[in-house]
Symmetry: D2
């Protein structure tokens, strides 16, 4: 242990003095200090600290994904990183509980002093969105301007340097490489197609065979089966021009396989990974709505300091800025246990651990 | 203490045996028990227990409000009741954290067995919405049917018996009776109108007087002032045919008065009451979105068991089924401390406590 | 709006660059970066930000209390400040959820580099404790050293400058001034003493009169009544040499009065204030235990980096470092509604609002 | 789908009517209904519902563990079950947030009516404790009676039927069977012993070699190394008569191995399992303290309705009724990455997946 380390103190390690020199309320400069401005500053600074941590986790997760093959040894820590991001996002929602102890009138005491600064300009948050996979052209435009056009030039540069490829595209590539969906004679796609058709036909037969079923119900049930059939057909024969999926057909197929056979030892961590991505998408969405409601409560229908439409804009992002939405929609295509085709034994063995192999 | 009471035990007091006889998984009857169905039942039963508690709180709150004048002695317990409802709603969001430990495939093992039962049919939840103030005609319709039309006849009856008047209309009547907004010579409406116009004129003057302001900015700022003026005019001279307010003009006026002069002793609890109602509206909205996301995750874009469009319907309720939205919009109309007119001394004294009166 | 303000940006307002320059992992300097050290730094810096906010709230709360009489206009904002501190403390517990995503092995990668820095040295946290009312001599000693002795000299100075008087002593003085406990003919102490004795005698009589009561139960019940009587006697005639109360007898008496007659308009906010102080005490205690468990999980029974006994020390602080414990113990002395003496009418009127006075 | 299922409604599926017939406030029978008694009943019934769910999860987890070898296919669902229990326990803490909206005076309105019923008598909670692994003789005694002696005879029977073996003992047996800790030439115990001694000797040498180190510091550092050596010796050569471990030496050794080499594919889920058990132990402990604080707040230092010492007893259980404490203490024995011996290549291969085997 070096002499320097021996002298390390809590304050010097954490740069507490510098950290506590970062709060400079604008209202203080006007001579009419607004009590709640400190809270406003602190909560946003705490956000920036946590954004930094999220980016730090994404650094390792994306580096692990960037390898030609994602090492089995790394899946555990990828999942741990995603879980940590999820926990952080839950905390960020909790921070709004604190911010909401500010009243609208308390906010009004200093709000005008902040124009035209706006939370919109948080470069770290834009980076997180972009690195997760929110594409510029999927973003809601404000006054017909894209997000990038509304940023200061230097912030725009920071954003461009560091966002390629996104986690979503890395995930796509990784899923598309899943070896088990087509191995030797086995084709998951074929096996599943057969099972789906069999299940739907059985349902159709049981409807025809039920004399007690009132005619309107019979028609409704039959229509539902036709719809289901159409949905599955679109899944198996995706048409690039009409598809609403963001991920590639191969990735969707693999994600479905993982969800269905999640108990196979080799799929347990990949399944957990897909769940963690949905957790992140969901908690981000909840944070957006919560943020929108808080803004609505603070300023009503006034426009935001940065010129956006305020709470309306934020609500729209909760609706539209979903990143891993495909994983949510995947549930539409799950067959229940009664209909799920069994995996061939040889495949099952390959999906187990070495030590257990005969 | 009676003999009977002496023999009271935890189990007999809480009817634990009866309570634990209420879980009858459908999948058990089919001979293929689905592990997660118990969770599904338990979480919904826990919801119903908490709904009962919310209704119990509304019973007292609404009885207190039903008095010709709401007793000052009761304001504390009304606020306590509203805070309790808020805490319960937060807990209900937390219950979704537990429910989300169920995977879509786990749900699929028993989901079909539940048709056509649907969470939509929770009479207690419909009652809570109605008693808070969600009007039937403000509700989203499903397949062109109103909520009532979709309920079973006996449930419809339960709903009709017990929802008049709603807390929203009681609140409106109570606010409209606030004595201080017009007392002797003092008229809050006049006093505030003058202050608003003065503030907006000052802003307009400072824009004209700034030679450095680029012309487009000057136009934008001027337009913003015009808009603000129009907003305030609509507040002071509400036109019944175009108004988007749900509450009466007198109630809106009083709520604004309370928000502005919230530190006056007599207004501190009423202000807290308005905040508590917004807390409830907000947490109910968050629960709706959270519920919608969970459903999306569980079943994708399939329709709900009860025939609704599933997660899409639930998302729409988060957007549209707001009850105390007027209180959120009120923030639009607050003046900052620099512009807020002072209350006359005589009025201030009347708004204080007896013991302090000269 | 000045030119300067017009140019304000999110980054310049919040000093984002400076804020994000405060993270300097020690492990980076050794050439073997430990991934989790960033989390360790961020979470502690987030703590320091929130500690600053707590101190900011205490600034105003204590200033409001420092006035000769606490203005009725200020009670609302005092309560709001205490509620905000409570929300912050809940958030700090939530931060441990994030920190616990670090594994013990992850911590071990950099822990030795931090010696002898220790969370013990957080001056802001020591200040919060001291300003709330944790006295130096009530603190647990480490290696027979007091907390101050273990701090660096410059930190000791910061601590001394700013902690007198504590919120606990301000609360005591404020409670002791409560006018209503003895007003004209009315003495709460006398009135309550009579009611307590009557209630206990009634219980004793009903025990004697119950022939079915088994002798051991009779003796136990009688002993319980004797104990209760002794407890109340100690409350009414506090003996400075044996009292375990930290607050003065007059303050205890007033706090009891407020708790019993909390619905009186003039007491509603004071009652809420006492509850808020208990909320703070409780959430601080929970944070301490949670912290202790996390440390136990991270380092087992090793000593802390700063030389304390690690998790054992922290657990002891959860037990002993209670500040508003008297308020919790007060519940021991409440009479139920059946036994509570009514307030004289004249007193009731004085405890209402001016506008309602005849 | 059968006719019966088609007629299933929300109310009939969930037995809503029966569920809502279980709330019978005692105070109602006395003619003086206490408003808060409903909350008291509801919160306890919600607890019992969730306890049932925890027991349902334990049923499957323990059945999976009861197999001669725990199937790799089942590890994912065991972990999911433990995570669900953890989420439920967090929810139960949240329920106390709701219960604490009751004031002590509100509780006093009906508390006496409940004697001698007591939360102590919750058979389901006693079952959860016992099935997790809290042994009767490790429990705190009340009035020199064991927990079982204080239960009613019929409750005692329920408890005896269903608690053998506990999850703790199943965990012990499973860990003790871990194949990798001694395989062919490889002995984890030997390999780790060598590494520990080498690391401690290196530290000792660096202390001797540092001329700048003040003598008292040198002595303290040397003593710390001696202590560490003694700790490790006790780990490797456990003495049954002095050991404070609850688990067997083989189980401890395997748990340490898993914690150290957690990134090996075959150990990732076992590591997650150990973490989940600590999560459960920790959240149970937090619930106990939180419960104790709430009781202290409600009744001060009065005894509990069931005759226990009230909050003091509950605090003691938070301290003593720890179940998986050994896993926490394990962290004491981890070596950092610099000192951790590498696994032999052949062993590493056996700990990977089949598909990757050469």
């Amino acid at each position: 242990m070096s002499e320097a380390a021996r002298r390390l103190s809590y304050g010097s390690y954490l740069k507490v003095d510098r950290l506590l020199s970062c709060q400079e309320p604008e209202s203080l400069k006007t001579g009419a200090p607004a009590h709640d401005e400190m809270l406003f500053i602190i909560v946003h600074q705490a956000y920036e600290l946590w954004f930094r941590q999220i980016l730090h986790e994404l650094d390792r997760i994306q580096a692990d994904f960037a390898a030609r093959t994602v090492a089995d040894e790394h899946l555990g820590r990828i999942n741990a990183g995603l879980s940590r991001i999820h926990e952080i996002l839950k905390l960020l929602v909790g921070q709004l509980d604190v911010l909401e102890t500010m009243t609208p009138a308390g906010f009004l005491e200093f709000r005008d002093l902040l124009t035209p600064a706006s939370g919109f300009q948080s470069v770290q948050f834009r980076l997180i969105e972009a690195r997760l996979g929110l594409h510029d052209d999927a973003r809601i435009r404000i006054d017909e301007q894209s997000m990038r056009e509304r940023l200061a030039p230097e912030d725009r540069d920071k954003l461009s340097a560091d966002t390629n490829p996104s986690l979503l595209s890395q995930l796509d590539a990784w899923l598309a490489r899943t070896p088990f969906v087509a191995l030797g004679d086995y084709s998951f796609r074929e096996s599943y197609r057969v099972a789906v058709i069999a299940a739907l036909q059985r349902d159709a037969t049981s409807i025809s065979a039920d004399p007690a079923l009132p005619e309107p119900q019979r028609q409704a049930d039959t229509a539902a089966i036709e719809q289901a059939l159409a949905r599955f057909r679109a899944l198996f024969e995706p048409d690039a021009t009409t598809s609403t999926w963001r991920m590639s057909a191969r990735a969707i197929e693999a994600a479905l396989f993982i969800s269905l056979y999640r108990d196979m030892p080799v799929l347990q961590l990949p399944f957990r990974l897909l769940q963690a991505l949905m957790d992140i998408d969901e908690s981000l969405t909840l944070w957006r709505l919560r943020h929108a409601l808080m803004v609505e409560r603070m300023i009503g229908v006034r426009p935001g300091t940065g010129g956006s439409s305020g709470s309306g804009y934020l609500k729209a992002t909760a609706e539209k800025h979903r990143i891993f939405i495909d994983l949510f929609h995947l549930s539409t295509y799950l067959l229940g246990p009664r209909d799920l085709p069994a995996l061939p034994d040889a495949l099952r063995r390959r999906m187990g651990f070495s030590y257990g192999a005969a």
